[in-house]
């Protein structure tokens, strides 16, 4: 009897093993060829990345024909290039490009064209974005009306601009379905030369805005007060040198916009042009994944003229409602932008065109974390002053830190 049982068990084992050999592994490698094209003259040696929906990154360099060949599992990918040329006569160029929603299916080789465009970098850059809030002291959740952004003059020159505005792109969060993509995986405004500024724009007062060499400006985006009195993990935004987005006659919620500290001059208040929905109580900066940018008004226009121009309308998702109203900011007017993806979601969608920001930085909100721009070590040593890295690629340029820089001060 024992022999029979042993025989049966061995047979069963063999059969099951044989069955396993015949089953698919579920891990199939498929070829993907990416052809870089566009304004770039160099073709060989450019690094191309493929990023899957889980954030795994595959890297390959292009051959002499400008083709990067990958072997990747089936899935949904985003192909991107952010390439900085070798300095020539002290100048260097940045070439960016990306294609989203690259579907790699079983048994189908994929070939895609990735046009690159030359990007420009600006002296005025975003050096920190603190939007995620922090934990409350009583354990009842998180507090997020302490957002701020820091702008800096990344040069030793005095920079004067004919106005400076803050804008955000919708959808306000990077996750969820983004209906602004076309069938080829491109943002439908990417090649139209503008960035849609949603809901409202904030602008510095005055006809011109001047940044002194290496000047930093902290802009409180909700409450320019000392939040640490109630939330010990928060930040103090009440200092005299700080700026704030505050226009209480237009955004009337004192809860979102408490009166700024008596130490801050009203000349440091940024004013707003609202064109979105009246019911919005505040400028809807995402706490998890904003796409924020700074820009100058188009030549010959003030920020108010630009923001109230009914002929300059674009609707997010194609929905012709006030809440989806955007103004078209010419890409050439954009000085800097940062694209943030939420760490809580597997699928995030870019909103800033590649010419402005080809990458993204992943962020975890609610824990007091912040996003800071990396320092360009070589340039810093050369200039003798902190110089921030600016490759128009948030993925390269920004890093997530576990606490706001203002808490260091």
């Amino acid at each position: 009897m024992k022999h029979i049982i042993h025989f049966f068990l061995i047979t069963l084992l063999l059969v099951s093993t044989a069955c396993s050999d015949n089953e698919p592994t579920g891990y199939e490698i498929q070829e993907v060829k990416v052809q870089v094209s566009g304004e770039i003259t160099v073709r060989e040696g450019i690094e191309v990345t493929l990023t899957d929906s889980r954030g795994s990154i595959y890297r390959q360099r292009t051959d002499a024909q400008g083709v990067a060949a990958f072997g990747v599992p089936v899935g949904l990918y985003r192909a991107a290039v952010s390439w900085v040329s070798t300095p020539t006569d002290g100048w260097r160029s940045i070439y960016n490009g990306s294609v989203s929603n690259v579907v790699v299916r079983s048994g189908e080789a994929v070939a895609i064209d990735l046009p690159l465009s030359q990007a420009s970098t600006s002296a005025i850059v975003i050096t920190e974005l603190y939007v995620g809030g922090c934990q409350k002291d009583d354990g009842s959740g998180w507090f997020h009306r302490d957002k701020y952004v820091i702008l800096a003059n990344n040069s030793g020159d005095r920079v004067t601009l004919p106005g400076l505005c803050l804008g955000i792109v919708s959808p306000f969060n990077s996750y969820g379905l983004n209906k602004n993509y076309d069938a080829t995986g491109h943002l439908n405004y990417e090649h139209e030369g503008f960035v849609p500024a949603a809901s409202a724009i904030w602008y510095f007062q005055g006809d011109e805005v001047t940044f002194e060499p290496w000047e930093r400006r902290v802009i409180a985006l909700n409450g320019a007060i000392n939040h640490t009195l109630t939330y010990s993990a928060s930040v103090d935004l009440s200092k005299a040198a700080y700026y704030c987005t505050y226009d209480i006659e237009r955004y009337k919620s004192t809860n979102y916009y408490p009166s700024p500290s008596q130490d801050i001059s009203t000349s440091h208040y940024l004013r707003v042009v609202r064109y979105g929905d009246e019911v919005e109580t505040a400028w809807p900066v995402s706490t998890s994944s904003p796409a924020l940018f700074i820009f100058t008004p188009p030549a010959g226009m003030t920020a108010v003229e630009f923001g109230t121009d009914a002929g300059n309308v674009w609707y997010d998702e194609g929905r012709a409602l006030p809440a989806f109203t955007c103004r078209k900011v010419p890409a050439a007017c954009v000085l800097d932008g940062v694209e943030v993806f939420s760490s809580a979601w597997e699928e995030n969608y870019k909103r800033l065109p590649s010419a402005i920001d080809v990458g993204h930085v992943v962020f975890t909100p609610r824990l007091g974390h912040t996003l800071v721009r990396r320092v360009d070590e070589a340039a810093t040593q050369e200039q003798g002053h902190t110089v921030y890295q600016d490759t128009n690629n948030s993925g390269n340029d920004f890093v997530e830190r576990d606490h706001a820089s203002l808490r260091d001060q």
């Binding site: 009583d138 209480i248 004192t254 408490p258 008596q262 064109y275 109230t308 409602l321 006030p322």
Partner: protein, 990 residues
Amino acid sequence: MVNRTIIFAMLLVAVQTLHAVGPISVPGVVASSSDGAPVEFATIVLGNDEQWGMTDQQGHFVLQMSHGGRTTVKASCVGYEPAEAVVTVAPGMDTVRLVMRPSNLMLEQVVVTAQRKTEHATTSYLIDSHALDNQQIINIGDVSTLLPGGKTTNSSLMNDSRMALRAEGGEMGNAAFGTAVEVDGQRLQNNAEVGETNGVSTRAVSTTNVASIEVVPGIPSVEYGDLSNGIVKVNTKRGHTPWEISLSTNPHTKQVAVSKGFDLKQGVLNASLEHTRSYSSLASPHTAYQRNTATLNYRTQSALATYPLLVNVNLSGNVGGYNSKADPDQFADTYTRMRDRVLRGSLRLDWNPGQRWLSSLTLQTDFSLADKRRTSLNNDNRSSAQAQIHALEAGYYISTDYDVDPQAPIILGPTGYWMVKSYNDNRPSSTLLKLKAQWNQQGQAVKNRVMSGVEWSATGNGGRGTYYDDMRYAPTWREYRYDELPWMHNVAVYGEDRLTLATNELGGSLQFMAGVRADITHIGQSAYGTVASISPRFNAKYVLWADCDNCWLTGLNVHAGWGKSVKLPSFEVLYPAPSYADRLAFVPASTADNRAFYAYNVTPFKAVRNPNLKWQYARQLEMGFEATTRVATVSVSAFVSRTMRPYLRTSIFTPYTYLFTSQSALEGDFPIPPAQRDYSIDATTGLVTVTDRSGVSSPVTLPAMEQNTFNVNSTYVNGSPVRRWGLDWIVDFKQVAALRTSFRLDGSYYHYRGVDHTSIVSVPSGAQYMSDGVTPYQYVGHYSGTVAGGGSAIATVSNGSVTNCVNANLTIVTHIPSIRLIISLRIESTLLDTRRRLSRGAGGASRGYVLADAADYFGEPYTGQERDCYVALWPDYYTTWSQPDVPVPFAERFLWARDHDRALFNELSQLVVKTSHRYDLNPDRLSAYVSGNINITKEIGDHVSVSFLANNFWNSMARIKSSQTGLRTTIYNAGYIPPFYYGLSLRVKL
């Protein structure tokens, strides 16, 4: 028309009086078929509600009839199937003997669906306890599932949905508000709810103690008023019954109930207790709604002046509601608790002299007291002090520390962490007194019943409204005491005549019913004062033949009716809560401890009385037929309903100027240092003065700027009529004896069309500032048409909608009496579901412009034939802040501004509203979809019964296509069909 009706009724009475005969006693006895024992306390009805009485302990009854002739004697008692006999009433007649069969699954015929009531001249459906048990109804409001074409819902008390007969949600005309619900003849009222204009909530009504439910979507008797969309009548269990224990469970609800009918010698006392608990989250069942009901009913019969007097006393109550206090997922001690307590009582006396001068007299009085108090304990925290505005009067106010003046119109709130406890005390009450008399006459081939009554009802609310236990933490809120609102009194007088003529020997007859009801409503302290309304109603039924046993078509009748029903307004309409505009008037900078003494300009509003407002009413027309063949019974009912003058809230814009003082006034070389400043504001002028606490500097009055804006008030107007029509049908096939299986096809076709042309004023939500980006918007648009929705009417491209739906159900019931088992399979299908938003001008004129691109403002007129396009609506004209009475034609000015004035063009373009998507005005036809339910009931002996149900038992994940978007979507968890659900119930009789 009304006068003619009354004259006609009087003539009929006069004619019938000629044929009247003296009083005749109708003796009878009722016994059980099982053991021959007398059935005590059974209800006896003679004819069509002509005379009624009750059996005594020996099962005997004696009724008085004022006339002789053939009539029907019906007996009903809980635990037994109804029994009836046709008798000839004559002096000295023999004792009528009725035998009642115990109600169980051993009967040959058991019905688990809604049955058409044939004796009435209007459409009504009866749902008995077998159907309710089989369906495991938890909420009375879910019985519409069992009506023709009804859709199953997964019953739960967490969902407080309200019934709307022959209507759907989201339509114009307040259909749910117009649907009346009665329990044992007592109307459940919702008029005294201050916060809503909606149908009555039924989740506090016990379902285990229900004997039957009658749903009358057709034209009811004039006895029923204050409705416009039919009535649902719930009848509880009555009679000497054993102990009955019921246990029920499904994934979201647990229920236990016990009931018993006690023999008290002189009468019978029915008592029941029920506990039902529903929760929405399986993972956290601690937040729940509970129903704990108790009902008592005592019935007895005695004599008054030697004539039978039936006394019926009801007392019922519920102690329950929603509570999240036990939920461990809530933060700290926070919770929300909503009481749903109610105490209802009624006394009804039915005196049946059966005399020529009076057949019967009914006196009924009832009351209802409800306690719907909501208590919340919430945590709050802030890093900045906020103004907590409690001012009730118009003026300028500045924030004040609570410790300085706890009664200040504006309290400067705290910073840090705290708890807020709030209450909403809501106690709607109602009472009623009703006297109704009836005269029955009968000749050789004619019967006449005249009914006349008078009724007084009153509704009010004894609640305190919203309040807080500690004003230090009370947020911005205004006290509004419900108990200071006067009660609404209504006096109704009605008369109705029902004439029945026998036409042939096969049971053929012709029945006319004509009645008129006059309601006089007194609304104290309301601008609406005292108003009156008249509701005439007519029904006719022609029974061609009823008992042709040798014919293939054994019975055929047709009916038709027309009626008008008036729905009284709710307290929300009569006494709209005041609203307040709080505008920041001064904003000093925050101090080092994050406090800023904000000042506000406060303007209170109360809805403006509209002297032209008329009461909403419905005109109904229906007709139908019922044919009984050897194969099946076919019942068809068609209706047309027009809701006239639906209540519509609209806005009124009035130019307004207030002062605003900017922080910049305190900058520069302001003489008083921040730490020494005291701020005050003149309540009338709004000028801010800064005082030096140290006394060093003189007070300084700050410069202020005028702000021009609009005050937005509301008023109620009558909107455009809403039209509905439809068809209900039931085909009940005879049971296939070999299979013991019967088939039923039922369904409904429903059409709705509502297009509004009311002239409204509105400022679209995107219109906020003039072209300088700073000045508040100065224009108001005047548009034609709007759509129904919460709040005031706003400008929308769509000004109506049209719906066409066909639902068809197949029910297969297998009933095996020998093993006491009944299995029903119900396939529910939606064969047609077409909806479309409309944009139509009055008289079918074009309304709106077709845009080539969403960003455009100009295009060709929209005709309704276009597809996949954005459509823009322009106002007819606009007015300005400075000239509010001067209408400016919009189109002309807008076109001019496009070419000549860019700033004006930018401003006027904000008055243009557009459709959200290209497909918004496309017709939306959904492809057909189905789901299926199984219900099984098994009796185990005479004492135990078990029911099981599985809704959407194959858990359909089918996909449907929308013609509006061209997309295919799944119906799984999308609201089209119920999610897969199951339930089990056990009933034990001892």
